[in-house]
Symmetry: C2
Subunit: 228 residues, 2 copies
DNA sequence: CCTGGTAAGTTGACGCCGTCAACATCGAGC
DNA sequence: GCTCGATGTTGACGGCGTCAACTTACCAGG
């Protein structure tokens, strides 16, 4: 796995280190333990580093023990994925909450949107592995939320709330509210992806990346708040 | 692999079909043949369907024969990836060329930008496998173009040209030109990704997707052409 | 026209992976 | 205190990428 030219491929898989030989035959909390080990793997190596056998090794348990708690290697990955998604949402919500709420409502809400956008991107850069895992492919349509789109991502709900506030504050004309959520998400997500995993992150200097980020976020805000 | 709820996972791998038992011991054009087989696999199954042994099987050759032409399974993937990128660029350039050039220059250039954006997204939807392959992770920094960012993607150069035209035509203020390329790319790419591989494609009805696409593209154009 | 060297394929093996069937161990409730 | 189900283990299988050693076919130079 390449992130900004630094090879953080999971090949110090020499590991095999298990935290402790584990005295009791039964682990007691294996499902959680495997999840956490999986998250750790994902954090440093992205989704393809979440390898069932390695997870088992780290927890100090045989590979097949996993099958008592997960139907599949895929199910483990999905669990990890949800955790990653939740962590992303956390970062986003925290950043928004940190924006001072005094001042003109329009200014505040724009500042919040900006903070959210930057938090999303920063998360993707700082936690590339987790970010990629959050959006990695998993065969099953990860929705207990069929039809109710994105209900599983708190991040998306936070964004929606912000946009509603923006309409209230008069920053966004009501007839442009619909679809603004997905559009905003697309832009930020696209930039984050191109940065964490793609050509932007690979080819651009740090300053160039920062400039591109600022421009991208401002372009989004311009589009959202354009008077026309 | 799930694309919009349709499982196109590469599990009709029953294949093993080799086009013909191949009479001559030497293939003659194995490198190309493997590439093409790889592209076909990628088209229907995404990057993870590009499996060295299966490619060899399809071409009717032993697995290790690949090593006479590729240093690595990764190198094969990368070759396929470049082909996918090229195909995407083609679709984009063709769509732009199809826009009638008569009329007010500003209108024309906006129409071209819109066409490019929609072509990009449409390609991602119609050729999800290839699209995902075009942007899939490959360990090596796929740049003979180190530092000269994106020079390997004709699609990006086409976009840059369009934006230059837009400045000329007075649609984009010159001081907003810098970074507009990456920002535009981000938005379209993000939407395409969310659609081809992510929650948008999985959870939204076709009409909802179309609406979201239109809104996303228009929001981008608004941001680019905003007067202020 | 032979001949030898090298490019292009082959076979068999290795260690990784996910997964299955069969067996072992523990602990909760009769 | 026994039993039985939940939880772990072992060993095996086939698929993967890759390596070393072997074979085949072509092409140049005599």
């Amino acid at each position: 796995m390449f992130v900004n030219g630094v090879n953080i491929r999971h090949d110090e898989r020499v590991s095999a280190r298990q935290t402790a030989p584990r005295t009791r035959y039964h682990h007691g909390d294996l499902r959680n333990a495997m999840m956490e080990a999986g998250v750790e793997l994902a954090r440093t190596g992205g989704p393809e580093a979440v390898v069932l056998r390695e997870v088992a090794r780290r927890v100090g348990v045989s590979a097949t023990a996993a099958y008592r708690h997960f139907s599949d290697a895929e199910e483990l990955l999905e669990e990890v994925k949800h955790t990653a998604l939740a962590e992303l949402a956390d970062a986003l919500i925290t950043a928004v909450a940190a924006v001072p709420a005094d001042g003109d409502p329009p200014d505040v809400v724009v500042a919040r949107l900006r903070a959210a956008a930057n938090a999303y991107i920063d998360f993707a850069v700082r936690n590339a592995g987790l970010f990629l895992t959050a959006y990695c492919r998993t065969a099953s349509p990860d929705s207990k939320y069929e039809g109710e789109p994105f209900a599983d991502t708190d991040a998306f709900r936070a964004l929606s709330g912000l946009l509603d506030q923006a309409v209230e504050a008069g920053c966004i004309s009501p007839e442009w509210r619909a679809g603004a959520d997905i559009a905003s998400w697309s832009m930020v997500h696209g930039f984050a992806t191109l940065l964490a995993d793609g050509p932007v992150g690979r080819h651009l200097s740090a300053e160039a990346q920062a400039f591109a980020q600022e421009r991208t976020v401002e372009l989004l805000l311009r589009g959202l708040t354009a008077s026309e």
